[in-house]
């Protein structure tokens, strides 16, 4: 009964649609569908290619489909794929953890404390950001050989982690500082009166508030090592120690060892850890988006 009564009422807060607006709306949908297609089509191709037993060394167009796991079998049986996954995840996790830890300190300190060289060091960080990290390749080499001669356990992978984390800390310090700046410092004062020390102010008050930002930073630092090809391909020399990007590259960069469908299968599986992390962080990310929307 009640439902029926409401049927005739116009409940939306927006003005009713005119014919022109309906047309515009239709156009938006068409554009969006096109956009979705552009993204999903290649993904679908990868999916089909990796399960298509009719592909040989190359992915060819117009080959009929027959389901097979042979590319995956090759991937797990004949390559160091599991090593690569393991390496990449370790490097990504370490990078994300290091970045989060340091950015927490630097972002908070730059936002809340006045100290000598604050402005100058912020500027320096920003300027150094503009130099791409592979420009420092020669420096990285020498640095690593110096450190390794003192501490032999310091592997090239650890060095890679340091480079990734270093870059991430610099860039994300800005982002987090800006975000913390927008939080009233009276909150800090209130917490101090309520009995918090400096670290507790950050851990109990600031960190929960900036959590969406931290989640984004964590996600980005985690994805970084999955995407980067340049640094590991130069720094790492043992195929067992490769990351996914460099490892999978060995399957397509040499005619004698050409396995394009296997490459596709590996690429498909690469997405799995990232998706898992994304789902784990989803709540934080979405809550951040939502609260931002309300504020604006």
């Amino acid at each position: 009964m009640k439902k029926k009564k409401e049927k005739g009422l116009y409940l939306s807060d927006r003005p009713p649609l005119t014919a022109v607006k309906v047309g515009m709306l239709g156009l938006s949908y068409v554009l969006l569908f096109f956009y979705v297609f552009v993204i999903l089509w290649p993904l679908a191709q990868i999916l089909f290619a990796s399960f298509n037993g009719n592909h040989g060394s190359y992915i060819q167009i117009g080959v009929s489909f027959s389901f097979s796991m042979k590319h995956f079998q090759y991937l797990f049986g004949k390559t160091y794929f599991l090593n690569w996954v393991w390496n990449t995840i370790l490097i990504a996790l370490a990078t994300a953890a290091l970045t989060l830890l340091f950015v927490s300190f630097t972002g908070y300190a730059y936002s809340r404390y006045r100290f000598k060289g604050r402005k100058a060091s912020l500027m320096a960080i920003m300027l150094i950001q503009t130099i791409p990290s592979f420009a420092g390749i020669a420096a990285f080499y020498t640095l690593h050989s110096i450190i390794a001669s003192i501490a032999p356990w310091f592997s090239r992978q650890m060095f890679l982690i340091l480079i990734y984390a270093g870059g991430g800390i610099a860039g994300n310090t800005f982002i987090l500082k800006g975000y913390i700046d927008s939080i009233s410092s009276e909150l800090d004062d209130a917490a101090r009166i309520d009995g918090c020390g400096n670290l507790q102010v950050y851990r109990l008050i600031i960190m929960p508030i900036v959590r969406p930002m931290l989640a984004v930073i964590a996600l980005w630092s985690f994805i970084g090592p999955f995407l980067d090809f340049m640094l590991p391909s130069i720094l790492l020399n043992d195929p067992r120690s490769y990351t996914l990007a460099t490892g999978l590259h060995t399957l397509i960069n040499d005619v004698r060892n050409m396995h394009q469908p296997v490459f596709a299968a590996g690429g498909l599986l690469t997405a799995v850890p990232i998706i898992i992390l994304f789902i784990a962080l989803q709540k934080q990310l979405v809550s951040g988006l939502a609260s931002g929307a309300v504020k604006g």
């Binding site: 009276e186 004062d189 209130a190 309520d194 009995g195």
Partner: protein
């Protein structure tokens, strides 16, 4: 707890001058002390120094005789309500109120009892599990009060806690706050720029301006015996009428062409001002309707503000000088009429024009 400020001064980093300086103040146990002053005069600075959030550049801060300059805020046994409320946005109302007790590792049952007690007093029991973003401004303000209350601290600091509320709620909260202060039996220091709040709530007012204390005392003293021209102009609404002039033969000759013969008490204190410049102040309600033998003025009514019980007449002297006169609401006045008034001699204030200090 008794709070004493001895010759306190504050200079912010990167500023040329002291923001406040030479502040001497004694706030007795269980006092409700209101720090009053125009915007930017350093009220918050002073309060934050008492709280330990700003460092003290010079002078001493004593709590019950103990020097507190270098003591951490959390060890000062204080609670503070901030102008912006500063509620923790990620915690529920309950957790906001319980936070300080949790930090002090109180027992769970004690915390729960205190929070419930405060919530009942502030009528917030229905909102205990809401987030600050889900409640109204007035309710947030009460949460901020509750958060400070549960601690049962010895000193209660409040920084313009009512400034964000609407007029009705503000009036209500004024009474609530005074009641709260009495029931908690604490020393309260309350910062405001609103003289009505100061006059109605305080047992003691401190009026700050230019980084200096202008006057300290009971609310009535501020109205009846303003210590200088600034206080005279700041306290009271409408503002006190001020007439510069000269003393000649014991008679005040205003620059605006009228003379006043002060009463005996004023005459004595004015004795040494023979031939000197002074300023005479008189509040709007001290003008009496009609002519008397002496001390008359005649002015033209310019604007009338009818308030019901009384009416405010904005009048002009023949030379253009303005003054405000309040008369009972049932008297008949009309715009552009010329009326005669005489001055109530007991309501006169005299100030030295040069130093702007009160005479007598």
């Amino acid at each position: 707890m008794k709070v004493e400020l001895v010759n306190i001064g504050k200079k912010y980093e990167g500023r040329e001058q002291f923001t406040i300086r030479h502040i001497d103040l004694e706030i007795e146990d269980k006092d409700f002390c209101v720090i009053l002053g125009p915007s930017g005069c350093g009220k918050s600075t002073l309060l934050r120094m008492i709280a330990g959030l700003n460092s003290i550049t010079e002078g001493d801060l004593l709590f019950d005789g103990k020097r507190m300059n270098k003591v951490e805020p959390k060890d000062r046994d204080i609670a503070m309500v901030f102008q912006s409320y500063a509620l923790y946005p990620h915690m529920t109302v309950y957790d906001n109120m319980a936070f300080s007790l949790k930090m002090r590792k109180e027992e769970k049952t004690v915390i729960h009892d205190r929070v419930i007690e405060a919530a009942e007093l502030l009528q917030m029991t229905d909102y205990l599990y809401s987030k600050p973003s889900e409640i109204s401004g007035g309710q947030r303000q009460r949460v901020a009060l509750g958060r400070a209350m549960v601690r049962k601290a010895a000193v209660f600091l409040l920084d313009e806690p009512l400034s964000n509320l609407d007029a009705k709620l503000r009036e209500h909260m004024r009474v609530e706050l005074v009641r709260l202060h009495k029931s908690l039996e604490t020393t309260s220091v309350y910062v405001t720029h609103d003289q009505t709040e100061a006059m109605t709530m305080a047992t003691k007012i401190v009026l700050l301006n230019d980084g200096k204390v202008q006057q300290v005392g009971k609310p009535s003293e501020f109205y009846e015996k303003p210590a200088n021209l600034f206080v005279a102009g700041f306290i009271g609404s409408p503002t006190m009428n001020l007439f510069p002039g000269q003393i000649e033969d014991g008679v005040f000759k205003a620059d605006d062409d009228f003379t006043v013969e002060p009463d005996q008490a004023d005459k004595e204190s004015l004795a040494e001002y023979q031939g000197k410049r002074v300023v005479m102040g008189i509040r709007s309600e001290r003008f009496l309707a009609g002519e008397a033998e002496k001390n008359n003025i005649s002015v033209e009514v310019d604007v009338i503000e009818m308030l019901g019980k009384e009416q405010l007449l904005y009048c002009k002297f023949p030379n253009g000088k303005e003054c405000v006169i309040s008369e009972p609401g049932h008297f008949k006045y009309a715009i552009d009429e010329v009326h005669h008034f005489h001055l109530d001699l007991e309501g006169l204030h005299f100030f030295d024009e040069e130093t702007s200090e009160r005479i007598g």
